[in-house]
């Protein structure tokens, strides 16, 4: 049932004031822009921020949860500093992208969709990146890493850790 974010972390709700101020005349119709702005603020949508938005716009929290889970653009859990997209398209598949993904999972200790505890990396899978000649391939942020071998994965990840 939808991903539930950890609720314990500190969320500075004062940061929403500017968002509410900007949309104060739009009331209920402003839910989506407000959610987008809140996500820009926090990097994701913390439950505490959603609760504050519900109260501000007088929209039930359940309905906001419905909107947040409907649109792929909204995230309920924090994402890492770096986004890894491991390609599982046809070309990568026949070049054993499954082993690349395994290697990523082992190195990061997370499953696809997950984020490392230090918030450095988020691991995602994609169906094709559009550079099949480099298969198997992955993107880290805007960098493409092609002709991968499982044993090279940790070293590539190291180059992003700082």
């Amino acid at each position: 049932m939808g991903s539930t974010s950890p609720t314990g972390q500190n969320v500075d709700l004062a940061r929403l004031d500017a968002v509410f101020d900007k949309y104060k005349d739009m009331a209920k119709g402003s839910l989506i822009p407000v959610l987008q702005a809140a996500q820009d603020t926090y990097g994701y949508l913390p439950i505490k921020a959603l609760d504050a938005i519900a109260k501000q716009l007088a929209i039930p929290i359940s309905q906001i949860y419905g909107v947040v889970t409907f649109y792929a653009q909204f995230r309920l859990s924090p994402r890492g500093k770096h986004i890894i997209r491991s390609c599982q398209g046809t070309a990568c598949h026949v070049r054993n992208s499954a082993r690349i993904l395994e290697s990523l999972k082992t190195a990061l200790g997370i499953a696809p969709g997950g984020t490392t505890e230090d918030l450095q990396f988020t691991l995602e899978t994609v169906a094709c990146i559009g550079c099949c000649s480099l298969a198997p391939v992955m993107m880290i942020d805007t960098d493409a890493h092609g002709r991968l071998r499982p044993d090279r994965v940790p070293k590539i990840l190291d180059s992003y850790s700082n």
Partner: protein, 585 residues
């Protein structure tokens, strides 16, 4: 006045007011357009696409439940294209619906089952493509099985539009779509009042009532236990529907006989304690009216446990407006293990107290820790009307044939005032019948207080108590209750003195545990049944109930006295649900 329009449906002309839907216009011609997501209690949603019809000149098939008629429209409800489309829609729904009908709570009372049969769906060519969800058993009253959900959104609409609680939402998209409380939480983990209306409006078995019949049978089978049952007012005009009778049929005697056949040791009447409630509540009201330091005004009734939950969750600062009187169910529970046990020389430890209720929130009310005035849990089990129907069937009670019997004596006599507790306006009328005579020492000129009757969501009336004008208000459905609370917050501009609130629209007659209704007029019919019951009863005012008089003479001494406060009154809580206490627990 809206203007009339004439449309042609299946070559028949019909004239209806503009704005009526194709579905409504077809009904007028005796044409039944099948529906699933549509329900007379909520606004059209046109999500299920079962009610598709052909509109001449239209590009695609239209959803009859929401398509408004306009002059000259030509509609076809029974063409090969329409039949094929409807069948396909249902076939697709069935592909993702569990095929465990034989063991489903809604077997033979399921709208999806009915549709499949009516539309002649013979095979399912598609495979299940939805994820499998966990069954939600966190609620004390309801069980939610998202695997059976057809995403019709009736519960979503009822809960948000009528009850203003918005517990449910649609979440996710595509095959992962689900109806769920926020953040995928269980019903027992969010601000749900347990009114149970979602379980009566659900077309399938996705939201059902927590079944306590086995626990009750186990108590009946235990020779050490004396199992005493009470029956709420509104059950007697609805139970018959589970056995083919019309809504509003009064089946008190058959119900009592059935309960005896099932094996209950004593069959008593909640109407009796409804009368006791009136004695206490009318006294409390007159106290508060006379001296404002005796309690907050306006005073609000407190017999609807869904309403209590609502008040505690959403208006915790205003709980002092509630009458401190317990509900008739809980007054019964407190008395049966004290007064009744002493009188009948039964060890209260041996008593298992069961109540038959129209209500799902009652299952929670009886487990409140403060509800043990007798030194035991005052009410041990609550069965809803629907569960009672199942119990009768499983125990071989032939409802058609069984001869009516009378309640057992002592706590078995209820008045007409007690019986109308079951419909909106009834508690107010019952209280006024007694308050008037206590204050004025005169007999009521007109016993039936039509001023407080009716089905409008929020009603007001003024009653003259020998020169003192009392302003009363009656609200039913939590959306109307919210209006009342907002008015009190705003300083009670209408100067209400006494307010009756019922969580369910119509009151207990359409409680969350009542039979699933298919008749658009079922509320009015069940209400008419209770008013008829009132007319037929020997006593019609709570203070004239001979057993109530005896109870006060022998045991409680006086309404609002020391014993009453010990047994029959309670306090309310601040149960404001902070999202984070919920999510972090």
């Amino acid at each position: 006045m809206s203007k009339n329009v004439t449309v042609t449906i299946d070559s028949q002309k019909v004239t209806v007011p503009a704005g009526v839907t194709v579905w409504g216009a077809a009904r007028k011609l005796g044409i039944n357009i099948p529906t699933l997501c549509h329900h007379f209690d909520v606004k059209p949603y046109s999500g299920c696409r079962v009610c598709l019809v052909e509109v001449k000149g239209g590009r695609a098939l239209a959803a009859a439940c929401s398509f408004p008629v306009s002059d000259g429209l030509e509609i076809y409800t029974n063409t090969p294209k329409v039949r094929e489309a409807r069948r396909l829609v249902v076939e697709l729904l069935l592909a993702n619906h569990p095929h465990d009908c034989l063991t489903c709570d809604r077997n033979q009372n399921c709208e999806l089952q009915r549709l499949a049969l009516d539309l002649g769906v013979k095979e399912i060519r598609f495979e299940k493509s939805k994820p499998t969800w966990e069954i939600d058993r966190t609620s004390p009253s309801l069980v939610r099985d998202p695997n059976k959900c057809v995403l019709c959104g009736r519960c979503v609409r009822f809960c948000s539009d009528k009850q203003t609680c918005a517990v449910y939402t649609f979440a996710n998209r595509g095959f992962s779509s689900i109806v769920t409380p926020a953040f995928g939480k269980g019903l027992g983990e969010v601000a749900c009042t347990l009114c149970g209306q979602c379980s009566t409006i659900c077309p399938v078995g996705a939201i059902t009532v927590k079944d306590d019949t086995e626990a009750v049978l186990k108590a009946i089978d235990d020779p050490e236990k004396i199992v005493i049952v009470q029956t709420a007012p509104s059950v007697r005009v609805a139970l018959g529907e589970l056995f083919g009778q019309a809504p509003g049929s009064i089946v008190t005697g058959k119900m009592v006989a059935g309960l005896k056949r099932v094996g209950f040791d004593r069959v008593l009447d909640t109407n009796f304690t409804a009368d006791v409630t009136i004695m206490e509540e009318a006294t409390e009201f007159l106290h508060r009216l006379g001296s404002p330091d005796k309690g907050k005004m306006p005073m609000i009734t407190s017999c609807s446990p869904g309403w209590i939950n609502f008040m505690e969750m959403f208006y915790p600062d205003l709980v002092e407006h509630h009458s401190t009187c317990k509900s008739p169910q809980q007054i019964f529970g407190a008395l049966v293990k004290t007064f009744y046990a002493e009188r009948e020389k039964i060890d209260p430890a041996r008593i298992v107290s069961v109540s038959i209720m129209p209500c799902t929130a009652k299952k929670f009310e009886c487990t409140r820790p403060e509800m043990n005035a007798s030194g035991y849990q005052d009410v041990d089990y609550v069965l809803t009307t629907r569960e009672l129907g199942k119990l009768f069937k499983s125990c071989g009670v032939s409802f058609d044939d069984i001869k009516p019997e009378a309640y057992d004596p002592v706590m078995g006599i209820g008045t007409g005032a007690g019986t109308i507790f079951g419909n909106t306006g009834g508690v107010m009328e019952a209280a006024l019948r007694t308050a008037y005579e206590v204050v004025t020492k005169k007999t009521l000129p007109a016993l039936e207080l039509t001023a407080v009757r009716g089905m409008a969501g929020l009603r007001e009336a003024e009653i003259d108590l020998d020169g003192t004008k009392i302003k009363v208000a009656i609200a039913h459905g939590l959306g109307n209750a919210r209006k009342v609370m907002e008015a009190i917050k705003a300083g009670n501009p209408n100067n209400w003195h006494f307010i009756e609130v019922m969580a369910c629209p119509g009151g207990c007659i359409s409680g969350g545990g009542q039979p699933i209704a298919h008749d658009i007029n079922y509320r009015a019919k069940r209400t008419a049944g209770l008013y008829e019951d009132d007319r037929q009863l020997q006593f019609r005012k709570s203070h004239e109930n001979p057993e109530v008089k005896a109870l006060y003479a022998e045991y409680l001494k006086e309404p609002g006295g020391h014993m009453s406060h010990k047994l029959l009154h309670t306090t309310f809580h601040n149960a404001h649900m902070d999202l984070f206490t919920v999510l972090e627990s």
